[in-house]
Subunit: 184 residues, 2 copies
């Protein structure tokens, strides 16, 4: 996924077309500005990491895996699949590479010995920290110009943009009890 996606709107029905969809009343009430700002903001946000990743021969898929494993040590493979919303096979390739190259290590679950709990190695953590640093710098720059309390507004907005039905384990952590309040 990751990708981008958003959309456009309005359109006067002048040209020939086949009326693709229900005409829909909407015409001027669309959030074009925010839709586009989200696109560009996210594009540049992930762009920070992309460059660095190249140096390691990794792609975004590796970053996503590394990030969540680092942040939520002991994550099960199944949890990771829920979070990333990809298939076991897709994850397999990436995960194997990260294991082979020493960025992640597996431990057999103590309760359920079928589980492979995932942990980042120091090497893995360093990579994740480096990438998060770049993105944190961008966020700090963006937040610096806001009114006091602005960061909380941004958090509230982003949280409210997320689907809450059937949350994965990570989202439960984020929304559930452990709110992980960071500074500000």
């Amino acid at each position: 996924m990751a990708d981008i996606n958003f959309s456009t709107a309005a359109a006067q029905p002048d040209s020939p077309g086949t009326d693709v969809s229900a005409p829909g009343p909407r015409t001027g009430d669309l959030r074009w500005d925010i839709i586009e700002l989200l696109f560009f903001a996210y594009r540049d946000f992930v762009g920070d990491a992309d460059q660095e990743l190249e140096a390691f021969g990794f792609g975004r898929a590796h970053h996503r895996v590394m990030h969540f494993v680092t942040r939520y040590p002991g994550l099960k493979v199944a949890d990771l699949l829920d979070v990333l919303r990809i298939t076991k096979q897709s994850l397999g390739r990436v995960l194997k590479q990260l294991l082979d190259e020493g960025y992640i290590l597996q431990k057999t679950g103590s309760n359920d010995r079928r589980q492979r709990l995932l942990y980042a190695t120091a090497k893995g953590e360093a990579l994740v920290a480096k990438l998060a640093g770049l993105q944190t710098d961008r966020i700090n720059r963006a937040v610096a110009g806001l009114d006091p309390g602005g960061v909380e507004t941004v958090r509230a907005f982003l949280r409210a943009m997320i689907d809450r039905d059937d949350p994965d384990k990570v989202l439960e952590t984020i929304f559930g009890g452990a709110a992980k309040k960071t500074r500000e």
Copy 2:
């Protein structure tokens, strides 16, 4: 693109390449929460469109192209390449499909007849509007819970997250003169 990507921290140019696990100074000052919220918010945001697109046999690439062509009628192929940050070859395939299926039409530039100016047909506009409607709904829901003025804070944040060096034509429009103030 579009994908997800975010990252983690620290690390300065300790050692080039090798010493991946340099401890790096950063440890507690990273914006983990916002990094993750951006990931999930964007994942669900683009997810809205993904489902609809399937019904048309289109992917995200098609959506991105349709969106910008609809929003910025008369966009040149070169402009689109700048905005999407993909290569001519990648755009080619998607664009050809959209042209063949009647979602977009080309007009030869009047000043410079080498240019192919792109316009969405009514059919194309309808598709884009439908997708923007879904995303607008999500944004409206998210914004509903904010303090008054919250939307402006969100806009300011997103704008500040975007790289301003060497902006493409669309960004110039967004940031430059035509600020396109939408409601609120």
